[in-house]
Subunit: 205 residues, 2 copies
Amino acid sequence: MTKSTTRNLTSRGRATRDRIVETAARVIMARGVAGTTIQDVMAEAGVSTSQVYHYFSDKSELVAAVIEFHAGLGDPGAPADLDSVEKLETWCRNAIRTQVERDFIGGCELGSLASELAETSEGVRMQLVQAFASWEAPLRRGLRAMHARGELREGTDPDDLALALLAALQGGILLTQTRRDIAPLRAVLTTVMARVRDSVVAPTL
Amino acid sequence: MTKSTTRNLTSRGRATRDRIVETAARVIMARGVAGTTIQDVMAEAGVSTSQVYHYFSDKSELVAAVIEFHAGLGDPGAPADLDSVEKLETWCRNAIRTQVERDFIGGCELGSLASELAETSEGVRMQLVQAFASWEAPLRRGLRAMHARGELREGTDPDDLALALLAALQGGILLTQTRRDIAPLRAVLTTVMARVRDSVVAPTL
DNA sequence: GGCAAAATGGAATGTCAATTCCAGTTCGTG
DNA sequence: CACGAACTGGAATTGACATTCCATTTTGCC
């Protein structure tokens, strides 16, 4: 956060830095922050100690960069406008498919980081809040659009539904990961989506 | 798991062991497994190295005992029969109140452990599955009772609703913890409960 | 070409934490 | 009460890892 933003990077430098961050993100996703050693990242990325410490003053700064990385990517399963029940259902199906393809191994990129790091420092926590916000954004935007078009029943708060969907995703993935079973993720997404459907005034024809 | 069950414990021994486990549970809840050192636990519990290693062959075994501890306690917010919408709503309110009282600091005792440990070993993962099952049990039992009494609409799966509530709790707590804001937990529990209410045939009068 | 900054190599250091060891005390039971 | 097992104390060991250091190469730019 300090170093990385205040640095004059050459193109080779940026490439190296990016490779380190991407590699760190991957390794951390697999083994967690505490379970990931700088040496692990060095080996995976094929860089030396000096390189890591040239771009990051310490491990916490590398971790911060990884969080930024995920925040920048956003939710990989949320591409287009999520402004209809059908599109939201596609979003749910994507989430489910992703976990199935991963054989239920591993959690959510962001959720795992948040769970491990939320209490470590205010700075990191705020980064995580931002990252979650960037994942929530497409959901919120879509539901707000539906709301603006008057498609949602009176008294329905689109922001609450967006938050509920994100929370459902997080909890569902955690249980699905732990149980190695898609049922929890499917159940909670289905349940929340049923509510979303109930909140729609007129079915989109 | 090996040592603890195959040991002849005197009453003093059991007391010491219990104190170690309870203390470890508390410290781990605050700092995570990786962030908790044996020395931390020793200091907090007022015991010596020998005592810890007398009852647990290594750290992983202590952690296993902590998981058992939480599994044995079950969900602290789920006391009575959860066999009505009102009781389920009380359960939700308890969950929300707990997080508020904690100033949104810290995650779910089980969820945090699961997120950190789910991929460490099959044995631990299975323990976590059991622990989650013991938290899910009251929800499932209550909803099944309602189902058996014919209070749930045709085609409603009580097990799915139980799973959805547990997942909602987990995801809601994670977001609430990260954001230091009750909105996510409230939103997702409210949303899932709305669906539960919609699934009830006749309102309980 | 030449210099300053950037980038890289890789060994050396230092700390922290898990675990081991040896020694002494207390307890349950015959 | 005796004696083996359970329990406790605390120092010593070991290994892993983050971080530092110094030396070398490469790049951007005048």
